[in-house]
């Protein structure tokens, strides 16, 4: 396994238990979707893996996180990037006062020399032809879709084996979202990069995912392959917004939902 989480517990500020024993794994070259409601602990899971948790006073208190067979939950983020694990943080965090090309180059911290940077840069431009014309543009003025392309491109600059992608669809038009997920799929196919994608938009995510996990209240409550999950009645009902009978929801359904949730959680 490329990435393996076993019984991971995360505590913020020494008191708030956010993850209550998460088990999850990502195989080499796979796309794995992590679904769940707001506050379920998806983003915390990603930050626990990438080491960004510590900058927010969070801590992995038990369990283990292994990347390529090596325990990493005490590693600094910079060493993880070096090993090929990059997180794309939620909310399209471009560096707004720097140009597109500068943004990309900042991502290439771990590369050896200028020649290598050039080479990877050209490759990234190959995947994002739109960015070539924008290379000298100050990135703060790009559109939302372009910014999302830029942050994914920036993550690619580190030549990662695994990218943790946090809500790439946030606030983007459906067409752009589809485009981004097609890109994720082709990056996996051509570069063999694995993805762990956190998404609210279960539909698009499950369309490309090999596997998927559903989180509730800091626990994994469902696991399955992409097609399995898409066919799962609960997923359909809770995340894809289709009720079983195909009609609108009634109070009875809401009660049913709560009961199911209790059972799942």
């Amino acid at each position: 396994m490329l990435l393996e989480l076993t019984n991971v517990e995360v505590v913020y500020s020494d008191v708030i238990l956010v993850l209550k024993g998460v088990n999850l794994s990502v195989a080499e070259g796979h796309i794995v979707a992590l679904l769940g409601a707001n506050g379920a602990g998806k983003t915390t899971t990603l930050k626990a893996i990438s080491g960004l948790l510590r900058s927010e006073d969070g801590e992995v208190t038990s369990g283990s996180i292994q990347f390529q067979g090596v325990p990493i939950h005490t590693e600094e983020p910079q060493n993880l990037v070096r090993r090929g694990l990059v997180q794309v943080v939620e909310g399209r965090r471009i560096l707004p006062h720097m140009t597109v090309e500068q943004n990309l180059l900042v991502g290439s911290k771990v590369l050896k020399d200028r020649a290598e940077r050039r080479q990877v840069l050209d490759k990234v431009y190959g995947y994002f032809p739109k960015l070539v014309n924008l290379r000298a543009r100050v990135s703060g003025y790009l559109s939302g879709g372009e910014q999302q392309m830029l942050v994914i491109g920036r993550a690619l600059m580190a030549r990662p084996r695994l990218i943790l992608l946090d809500e790439p669809s946030l606030g983007l038009a459906p067409m752009i979202v589809t485009e981004i997920f097609e890109l994720v799929e082709s990056l996996r196919r051509q570069e063999g990069i694995a993805f762990l994608v956190v998404e609210q938009n279960a539909n698009v995510a499950l369309a490309v995912a090999d596997h998927g996990y559903v989180m509730e209240n800091g626990r994994i409550v469902l696991y399955g392959t992409g097609p399995e999950l898409r066919e799962n009645e609960d997923i359909k009902e809770f995340y894809l917004g289709m009720s079983i009978s195909g009609h609108g929801k009634s109070f009875k359904d809401v009660k049913h939902y709560k009961r199911r949730k209790r059972w799942l959680g």
């Binding site: 990438s50 960004l52 900058s55 600094e76 983020p77 910079q78 060493n79 993880l80 990037v81 070096r82 990059v86 997180q87 794309v88 943080v89 965090r93 560096l95 707004p96 006062h97 720097m98 500068q102 180059l105 900042v106 991502g107 290439s108 911290k109 771990v110 940077r117 703060g140 920036r154 993550a155 580190a158």
Partner: protein
């Protein structure tokens, strides 16, 4: 006429010196988002280091100056490691207060270590005046002005072209994003404090070359403030331009206004320009405009 020209030209040189000090503010602000109120005191520490090595230990210039520069780099790094490191993620107010505390503390240390007496700062740079036509310049200031331009060009290149510089700019933009890209944020900040300490001592040498000095030389820190703010706290090139604007305005103001007010315009005029500019452009002429969201 010559006198006006001389005032303006000398004003421009003074402006460039302020720009050098302002640059040491800006470099810290760019990476750590901290405005170091104690910068003036660091200039004084640098000055006393040079003085001690040359006058008390009798070291030659070629040994004393590099040693002092090295020591001031270490001082900057030390401050970052001991004090600011533990404040990462705190509110703006904490940084204002801690650097004010630092200002008071370092002044105390300077007084304990070197006392309040007037010392003669050694002539590290040649003293002979530079004459251009009828204009006369302090040679150290001319060298300093040229040095400021070179340093600014080098810093601009460093922050926009080199990998380390780009990474430090990324740190200035957003600590967490920088972290997620594998950039060691605290190391970048320490490097910035080191560079800033170095520039402070260079500024001290130019400013005080062959003159009498006391701990009050730290006022140059506040004098350089308007230049840093006028330019905006992020822009290296802007600082040079800001320095020239302030310096030339200073020269003009001294020439036209000093006879009216009996002198002393030079101390207040940069602040007046600064307030006016900030009212029009709240992040300075070349500073990063922030997009605030609720």
């Amino acid at each position: 006429m010559t006198s006006l020209l001389s005032q303006v030209a000398n004003g421009a040189l003074t402006g460039l010196l302020y720009a050098l000090v302002a640059m040491s503010f800006v470099i810290i602000y760019r990476s750590a988002r901290v405005f170091n109120f104690a910068q003036g005191e660091i200039v004084v520490v640098g000055a006393f280091l040079v003085w001690t090595l040359m006058s008390a230990f009798d070291l030659p210039v070629w040994a004393a100056v590099p040693l002092a520069l090295l020591a001031s780099v270490l001082l900057g790094v030390l401050i970052e490691r001991v004090i600011l490191r533990s404040l990462v993620g705190e509110e703006l107010f904490a940084f204002v207060m801690v650097t004010i505390g630092l200002l008071i503390f370092i002044r105390g240390v300077v007084l304990v270590a070197w006392g309040p007496e007037v010392r003669f700062f050694p002539a590290v740079l040649p003293m002979a005046a530079v004459k251009v036509g009828a204009l006369v310049f302090d040679r150290a200031m001319v060298i300093g002005g040229a040095l400021t331009l070179v340093v600014a060009a080098a810093m601009s290149w460093f922050f926009n072209r080199t990998q380390l510089g780009l990474e430090m700019t990324a740190v200035a933009e957003d600590h967490q994003t920088a972290l997620s890209l594998g950039i060691p944020v605290t190391r970048s900040i320490a490097v910035a404090w080191g560079i800033s300490g170095l520039l402070s001592t260079v500024a001290a040498i130019i400013f005080l070359n062959g003159k009498g000095m006391t701990f009050l030389a730290s006022d140059i820190g506040f004098a350089a403030l308007p230049v840093a703010l006028l330019a905006g706290l992020e822009s290296i090139g802007g600082v040079v331009l800001g320095g020239l604007i302030v310096g030339i305005a200073l020269g003009l103001a001294s020439y036209f206004l000093d006879p009216i007010f009996n002198g002393g315009v030079a101390a207040v005029f940069p602040f007046v320009i600064m307030v006016i500019v900030l009212l029009i452009r709240p992040t300075g002429l070349f500073g990063w405009k922030t997009i605030e969201r609720i």
